[in-house]
Each structure stands twice: as C-alpha cells, then as structure tokens.
C-alpha cells in the first residue's frame, strides 16, 4: 500500500484534523525507525572492480546488515581498530581477497572492502530499506503510530488523550504483527 493511501486513512480516522505535511514526515520517520529492526529486508547487488576499495550503498538503504562476496563469502564488518589489529596500521593499503568491510571513516552511505580487492567481484548486500509502499499488514500499525505523534505535538489540534489511545492501539498492532515483541 502506498504512502498516500496510509496518509488518507490517517485523515479519515482523525476526521480531517491532521496536518498532511506533518503526517507525511511522521510516515518517513516511522518507516526509518522500522528500518533499524530486521523487518523490511531486501538485497542490493554491487559490482566490485579490482583496485577499487570504496563503494556506496543505494540511497534507500537504512541499515546495511550483511555483505557477501561472490568470491569469498560472508564479509565481517569491523571498525578501524579491529582491522588495524588484523592487518596492521596500513590496513587501508593492503590488497588481496576482501574478508572484511569497514564502514568507519567514510560517509554514511559508503563502505570500504578490506583488503582492497585485486580481482573483480560481485557483492550481495542484505539490508533494510526505506519504502513508500510498506506491506499491507504493516499499514494499520503505522497509521496509529502517525496518529499518536500527530496529536501529541504542539498544535491547534493537540489532543493528548487521543494520542495516548492511538499509541496504545499502535503498540498492540505492532505486537500482533510481530514488529515489536511482547513486554
């Protein structure tokens, strides 16, 4: 179901009191928060060229979970300190068959293969994704989470009681759908 349809249902349930610009922002926030859980998983294929160590993940990636190399299998994610202890201080300059991935010292969307690859390869990234079309079973919990946030914020239609009730229903629905765990 599209983001637009979710937001239409928010308007229906709020009897038109919601601010559409704000609820659209809340939708993005909530999908991003769900992205930190292993719910909306997907894959991305990344072509690797010999001699190039740094690559970007797709912009709709929320969390990079696992990198797999066609040539060498699962790549361990490590920080600079860990890679330094494995490969020595000049780990950035090593070349060979990559066995690890560093996401440190780069911007949010990039990663470095360690050692730097000396042959072409294909990576499969298992990740969580930002989506404007969440699965049908996820739409109702998101609708109530949006209602909760929309009516708790400072506004001319702020309604703490309605917000709390919406939050209670949202929590129940997130547990029913397995996104949140039982307390």
């Amino acid at each position: 179901m599209s983001k637009a349809t979710v937001l239409t249902l928010v308007t229906t349930l709020s009897l038109g009191q919601d601010d559409a610009a704000e609820t659209a922002i809340f939708y993005d926030e909530i999908v991003r928060e769900i992205g930190f859980l292993e719910v909306l998983t997907g894959t991305e294929t990344i072509a690797v060229s010999a001699g190039t160590a740094v690559y970007n993940v797709a912009p709709d990636t929320i969390r990079s979970i696992e990198f797999h190399s066609q040539n060498s299998g699962f790549l361990t994610k490590a920080d600079g300190k860990g890679l330094g202890s494995l490969f020595g201080a000049d780990w950035r300059n090593r070349t060979g068959t990559p066995i690890g991935v560093s996401m440190d010292y780069e911007d949010d969307d990039s990663f470095r293969l360690v050692p730097s690859p000396n042959t072409d390869d294909t990576l499969t990234l298992i990740r969580t994704e930002r989506r404007d079309d969440v699965p049908t079973w996820l739409e109702l919990p998101i609708v109530f989470e949006i209602l909760s946030r929309e009516f708790s914020r400072e506004s001319d239609h702020q309604d703490v009681e309605l917000s709390s009730a919406s939050r209670a229903i949202s929590n129940l629905l997130f547990i029913m759908t397995g996104v949140k765990e039982n307390a």
Binding site: W137, E161, A168, N171, L172, L173, I175
Partner: protein
C-alpha cells in the same frame, strides 16, 4: 467462517451506536475491517496460501512481497513434496560462511531473513518448483458480500479491534482501555506497563 463483511459491519455499527452508518459510512467501516482482518491473520497465521515459485539455480533468497505476492509470513517450505526444515538466519552463518552462494540438488533448510526475505539453503542447483506456505493477506473486502476470512473463534477479536478503532474515531475513548485489555488477554499479547499507563490516562 461463513459471515460476510456486510453482516459484521451491521453488528459493529450497532455496537458503536451508529446503526444507520451516519458517523462512519459503510465504506469506512469495511476499510477498517479489511485491515483488521489482515492484522489478525498476521498474528494467528490461520488462513494460509501456497505459492509455487520455480527456483532460479543458485538463488538463495526469495522476496516475500515480490515473489510470494499475497503472503505475510512463511510457515512451511516444500520442494518436490519434501518439507524442508526451518532454521534461523543466525544458524545459516554457523553452518556456512558461504551460505548465500552454496548450491545443492537437495536443499535441506529454509530460514526467514528478516520479514521480507526467505532463504533456501543450500540454493537449488536446478530450476525445481518450491512451494511456499504462508499466512495470507486476506481477500480485500471490496463490497459487503465478500466472505470474511478468519476462524469462528477469532471473530470476537476482529469485532473488538474494529470497534475500538471506530470508538477512537468518534472520540469515545472511555471504554478503550478495557477493550484493549480484553484483546491482549485473548491474543496472549502483553503490552508494557508504560503502554498500559498511556492507555489508562
């Protein structure tokens, strides 16, 4: 489950004192009922659907949304009538660090990789048919004559949850905590203390 959407819409509308659907049109009630039915099946996993996918040789991961259209959560996987054992994503790592590229003529396991991917391990090495059984996204309630899809014993949950949502819509919040409490106990769901306080406020 023999009830149609129309029957339950009548009953729920009466329960929120809107028998003539003045406050909530039938379309609105049906839309909410439709979504509630999906959520209840996501929880109960009672209404199932089979989807047959021809394996792409060497492909380990299949997308629930793209490859298995109307599925919610995979519950069983068969290849050529043989049921695969379910394992966990973490276990695939323990078995093989090359689990994403390993292949075999006789795949033995399947695992959920998050909610949107399913792994077949090892990946089939030839284009065999894989049968995925999953809880389904119930048939959309496009009109009142559509049959509802849930067990008879789940009707109370569907009715109560739809009622709670309509009460919230009409800002009739006093009875909500009690309804939510009843639903929690019927579904063995425990909302945290903080959530409980929020509801009671």
């Amino acid at each position: 489950m023999a009830s149609t959407a129309g029957t339950l819409i009548d009953s729920i509308s009466r329960r929120v004192r809107d028998a003539n659907n003045t406050a909530h049109s039938r379309t609105v009630v049906r839309d909410i009922l439709d979504r509630v039915q999906v959520v209840v099946n996501a929880r109960q996993e009672y209404i199932l659907t089979d989807t047959i996918v021809t394996a792409v040789p060497g492909q380990t991961l299949y997308s629930v949304e793209t490859d298995l259209g109307s599925s919610i959560t995979v519950t069983e996987v068969k290849i050529a009538g043989r049921e695969l054992d379910e394992t966990t994503w973490a276990n695939l790592h323990r078995v093989s660090l090359t689990y994403l590229t390993d292949m075999s003529n006789t795949p033995g396991f399947w695992a959920k990789v998050g909610r949107s991917l399913v792994a077949i391990y090892p990946a089939p090495s030839y284009p065999v048919d894989i049968t995925f059984t999953a809880s389904k996204i119930t048939t959309p309630l496009n009109d009142d004559s559509i049959q509802l899809e849930f067990r008879a014993e789940d009707e109370d949950i569907v009715r109560e949850l739809t009622t709670a949502i309509l009460l919230l819509r009409q800002r009739d919040l006093d009875s909500l905590p009690e309804i939510i409490q009843r639903m929690q106990s019927k579904m063995n769901v425990q909302v945290s203390d903080q959530m409980q306080r929020n509801t009671a406020e």
